[in-house]
Symmetry: C2
Subunit: 500 residues, 2 copies
């Protein structure tokens, strides 16, 4: 480490702090800001994000980056230099005018999309989507890529991921899932999820959410839970101020209950990042995919397991005596593990969820490549839906208009959701090997062993390893679909009464 | 207005936005931030306030200020130029090193003070106070003044105020108050305030607070109420995002009820500032004294009036049937208007409150002038307390250690509290002349006429006029103690059964 490195880190920390301020501005806007605050809030957010951007792409940052160096065995400094260089290169390669045009186009597209989805009129949205695709292709050209422009976009969310590799992974995953799904659909023992749509008073659900977060060791001294329309997790001060949100639906228990466990999973990652490196890359998460692996692990591999409910069912039954008084543990366990092809991604079960992602990956990759026009998207979507899930949406609102991402010019983000599922299963398989009594611990509501394992193997490293390296390092193998398939096949075969 | 003026205003707005971000950081810290967030939060606050300071005192600001001009009849531009120049001059005259030393000394002094107050050991705090006095004297020398250094410090909070004028005002006020106080203390009809310390469940008080804020026309679409240890009012987006806080004491009804009305008064001022000039001086409040006039007017002249309670008493009685079931309106009205010399400023009644301020004004003025050493403060305090209020605190915790201000290096702030009371009475006297049925409107829970009057005569002007000018303009007279004395004499004579 030399003097330039020290100065660079001072700059990097200030940029990190500005991003933290942006997070607070966003959090407040979604939770407590009064309605009329929208206009001045937009000005504050634009100012702070502009300051962060300016400082990142400044000549001074370039100069310090060129001069900074670190010892070969100082992995913290190396991580910081690698990631600062990466952020600098990416941000400085994209012309500011293009960034502004995307923001402007996206703002219009978002409101057009909202209306188009309401009326299920994809044609109204198509020209805006085409325009955004064109702009994002230009971004990809500026950023640069080896084999295809989609990689340059995906790299923002999942550094190092390549579409050609994902194609292979998702294709195998799609085939295996579709095959297993057919078996399940014809299975003798079909679960009944209708008990989950009974009446669950929101005030009691709120108590349940806190209970679940506490049970998973969410640290309320370094975080909080609030209510928003769209749940999220963010940090306003490294590991020390991590906030999650949830949303309550009176007639659908899983929304808040599993939603809270999901966001708690994200939060446990943030609360486990190394505090010594807060506001620098070495103190940040690896990628969105790795982040999602933590949320999905706690939500699904832990939160929908038999062991977990062995402990918690009586408590939940006690909270909702009217809704669950006549329900047995086994019935409940099977209800929360119902698999059913459906149109809406965010409502999909653990198994079919990945098919929703495979579909989006294929379509947005073709859109960016220019092999598919925006206008052709609905047809391609419906055909793929039929192929993978065997169903066809009646309207585009239930099809290619359902997600907000494209209307904001976000392409290459969807794959991280499925990657999260795969990483989660592969990590969990390893954790199960390393912690011999993992199921017993979970059944005893003792989640510390798993959390300690995650802290040691994943959280504590910050951004030291790329996602691919991390998986290899932690599990001794590259990422594959096997741990996930083996997990779902075992679990759902049992739920559906199939011989394994 | 020329081009330089436009560019200057862009800069000024960004500085104003940075201050708004600081307000959000503060608000969040006091309301919802998790405990561990303190350390990263301090970093965020320091960054944002440093950025605002740098931008204000930069060469570019100086250049634009020198080049900027406005048309003679453009009072908005004139206000903006005058106040930006004022802020620039003040900030750029004080060496950054001195600002840092005060912050550092104050941080230590604050924690020493907290402990000294707890143990009532003034001697521990004295050297820190002496050091802060010395630093603030240096600030005064850098800022400059005509007749005495105290003026330079007070100017930060009440632009244009001069200690020599306040001395005259406060001396008259002290004499008149002390004289009237003696009459009251010997009056035949002494109110009984004990009903106010009965049991008032906090959850119900919360409902009452909202009711009071709504009744006074607080705009919840452009603001909110939360709970903090020390109540305050701040804005995160001009008139559009104004937040107040309150604190609930189960055994003391007035704390939250009048506290909320007080903060609502501040908020109504902020919500009435001209939105077109948000984030510039033309969209800001005149001074702390004028701000306090708004809070005290709604809290006391409206909120403790007979007219107000004619309407609201039944509602409040309905909320607290156990505490107030046996209480009549007249009894309640007299209880909330009890005058009694006491040691603690923040608990003082409407009349004796000003004596607490007169005392502080004299002592801190002498401290800054060097006529009194820090070590001599307790004795001077107790002597003055005896002289003005006729009582002597048993310990310095109830005396010169009670307030936090000096430990933070804040001198010249206290006078704005008493000025607020005087401004409030003088404005209200005028409002009563202009709104012939003011009492009837208040008794009908219709506070719109008074609010409209305040918006037109005070709020809507932003910072166009200095406090002294504003009072002269609105009431046709310079500030004097007569409206206040005439108001308290009339009101309390009646409450205490004295012939007027």
């Amino acid at each position: 480490m030399n003097e330039a490195y020290g100065k660079l880190m001072d700059r990097v920390k200030d940029i990190g702090r500005m991003h933290a301020v942006e997070q607070l501005l966003d959090w407040d806007q979604e939770t407590y800001m009064p309605a009329e605050g929208v206009k001045p809030r937009a000005e504050l957010t634009a100012l702070v994000s502009g300051l962060a951007h300016e400082r990142l792409i400044s000549d001074e940052t370039r100069r310090l980056l060129d001069d900074a160096s670190s010892a070969e065995d100082d992995h913290v400094a190396q991580t910081n230099l690698r990631e600062t260089r990466r952020a600098f290169d990416r941000a400085s390669r994209i012309p500011t005018e293009l960034v502004k045009e995307i923001a402007h186009t996206g703002a219009i597209a978002k409101s057009v999309w909202a209306k188009a989805r309401e009326q299920s009129k994809f044609a109204d949205f198509a020209p805006h989507l085409e325009k955004l695709l064109e702009l994002k292709r230009r971004v990809a050209e500026h950023v640069g890529y080896e084999s295809e422009p989609y990689d340059a976009l995906m790299d923002e969310f999942e550094p190092g991921a390549r579409a050609s590799q994902l194609e292979e992974l998702f294709s195998k995953l799609g085939d295996a899932t579709a095959k297993f799904l057919r078996k399940l659909m014809g299975a003798p023992q079909q679960p009944d999820a209708s008990i989950l749509t009974r009446n669950y008073p929101c005030a009691v659900q709120e108590q349940l959410s806190r209970h679940m977060a506490e049970s998973l060791n969410f640290d309320f001294g370094a975080g909080r839970i609030d209510v928003t329309v769209h749940p999220f997790c963010l940090s306003i001060g490294g590991a020390r101020d991590v906030r999650i949100t949830t949303r309550y639906e009176e007639k659908f228990l899983p929304a808040a209950m599993f939603g809270t466990m999901h966001e708690t999973g994200h939060a446990l990652y943030e609360q486990g990042l190394p505090s010594a490196h807060t506001f620098t890359p070495a103190g940040e998460a690896v990628s969105l995919g790795i982040h999602e692996s933590q949320s999905r692990m706690w939500e699904n591999l832990v939160g929908r397991s038999r062991a977990f409910w062995t402990y918690h069912f009586d408590y939940v039954k006690g909270l909702f005596p009217e809704a669950l008084g006549d329900v047995a543990l086994e019935q409940f366990y099977r209800a929360i593990n119902t698999v059913k092809p459906s149109f809406i991604r965010v409502e999909a079960d653990e198994l079919t969820y990945n098919l929703h992602i495979a579909l989006r990956f294929q379509i947005e990759r073709s859109l960016i490549a220019g092999d598919l026009t925006a206008g052709e998207a609905p047809e391609a979507w419906n055909a793929k839906m039929k192929e993978l899930l065997g169903i066809t949406p009646e309207s585009d609102s239930d099809g290619c208009l359902q997600d907000i991402h494209w209307s904001m010019g976000i392409f290459g983000y969807f794959p991280t959701y499925a990657l999260g599922n795969l990483y989660a299963a592969q990590f969990f398989e390893q954790a199960r090997q390393d912690i011999s009594d993992l199921d017993d611990r979970i059944a005893a509501n003792d989640h510390k062993p798993l959390l300690t394992w995650l802290r040691e193997h994943i959280h504590g490293h910050g951004q030291r390893f790329r996602a691919g390296e991390l998986v290899q390092r932690v599990t001794g193998k590259p990422l594959s679909i096997e741990p996930f398939m083996s997990y779902v096949e075992k679990k759902f075969s049992e739920v559906y009464g199939l011989s394994a």
